[in-house]
Symmetry: C2
Subunit: 238 residues, 2 copies
């Protein structure tokens, strides 16, 4: 009998969520991974999520299909060009066009439903306030507020107040380099993960979208070889 | 040019949400209706939502397709029998099996995304704390907490704090009879709406699920003829 407490981990197939999953495992949770397919350009992430789930032997990956394209409003869901830069410093301070309206609210709502059905009181999400400070739904105050709401929203929250639902954000205050070092220490195979917002049809990373730039810089700063397969002309840390 | 402020109204096709839509109209909002199709047994509600949207001339009904059946955990999404009773008094005080885990959290999250894309700062949801006191996500404290979270979750909430997002719940403290009288006063045609959790293939209401019982009692108490088409042997208020 599995006596470990169960946790739902939101798994996108990216570097952050793969690390988040490894941390949840390391903290002693029995992990239920949930991938949310939202009509994004980088659906190739889902394949990465499946590879990560398989590598960590966590059983079937629960996949929720939602379609945020009906609303539009983001470079990740509508026909807006994904911005490209040559260096991290060129990324602006404003909320980027890759912001998807209410995305993490919707993701966490699904995780909340799944957690309630499987009896989990812990949800892990790999949000990060340092690298993605432009996204309002990656900030600690948002997470704290969601957690409070979640405990009022559910049957579990109402009927068993002694075990409140907790939203874990272990990566919140870590730099990308720290996340990578932590993941390497926990045995994460980053060659299985995918971060690019605008990959080629073969799944090669563009190397110049915000997500690629942050990832490349992270491997460089961590002093860890970058296993990402980039398009011709782009090179990660060796 | 339409200078009315825009509001997103969650429209299920039921009696409550149709009244809610009429109230939003009456309060001077330009209404964007959002129906969420969630693999429920009563998908016939969607047809009702379309009829209501057409009757109120609010343009296209935005429909979000989500699948909560993947999680199960409710008589409305899994293969669990919908409970039937002969009278409202038989409905228990516990949270019923028709509770769908995190449903209103997910619905409101979609409404939040839609509101942000169309520039609406007002969301209407027809929840009611009196008749459905068993559902945790129909209580005022949940709505208040969601509203707070929503203003931290979105770009609009962060960039334009002078126009905070408001979740309107005009039916919260009304009895079903009061809701019906209000709707009749605003010209709602309840023959277009559908409430039954377990309708026949032809869309006839069972008359004995919790939702039907509350609806029948509402028409009776309001002294309004019940236009619902029930299965053989069940009669609404004449």
């Amino acid at each position: 009998m599995d006596e470990k407490p169960c946790a739902v981990v939101l798994l996108s197939g990216g570097l952050d969520s793969a690390t988040c999953l490894a941390i949840a495992h390391d903290e002693g949770f029995s992990v239920k991974a949930l991938a949310v397919l939202y009509g994004q350009r980088h659906a190739v992430e889902l394949d990465a999520a499946r590879r990560v789930a398989t590598a960590h032997e966590i059983g079937d990956l629960m996949t929720a299909h939602i379609d945020l394209r009906i609303f539009g409003g983001s470079a990740l869901t509508a026909d807006v060009e994904v911005p490209k830069h040559e260096a991290v410093e060129e990324i602006g301070a404003d909320i980027p066009v890759t912001y998807v309206p209410a995305r993490n609210t919707i993701f966490l709502s699904y995780a909340l439903a799944y957690a309630e059905v499987v009896g989990a009181r812990d949800i892990f999400i790999g949000v990060n306030a340092l690298d993605y400070s432009g996204y309002p739904d990656c900030r600690p105050e948002f997470i704290k507020s969601f957690q409070k709401m979640a405990n009022l929203a559910t049957k579990a929250g109402v009927e068993d107040r002694e075990r409140p639902l907790t939203i874990h954000t272990p990566l919140m205050q870590m730099t990308k380099a720290e996340i990578i070092r932590k993941g390497v220490a926990l045995g994460v195979d980053y060659s299985l993960t995918h971060s690019c917002y605008d990959p080629s049809k073969d799944g090669l990373a563009c190397g110049r979208c915000d997500s690629c730039l942050l990832r490349r810089k992270g491997f460089e700063e961590a002093g860890v070889p970058d296993p990402t397969r980039y398009m011709a002309g782009v090179h990660g840390n060796k």
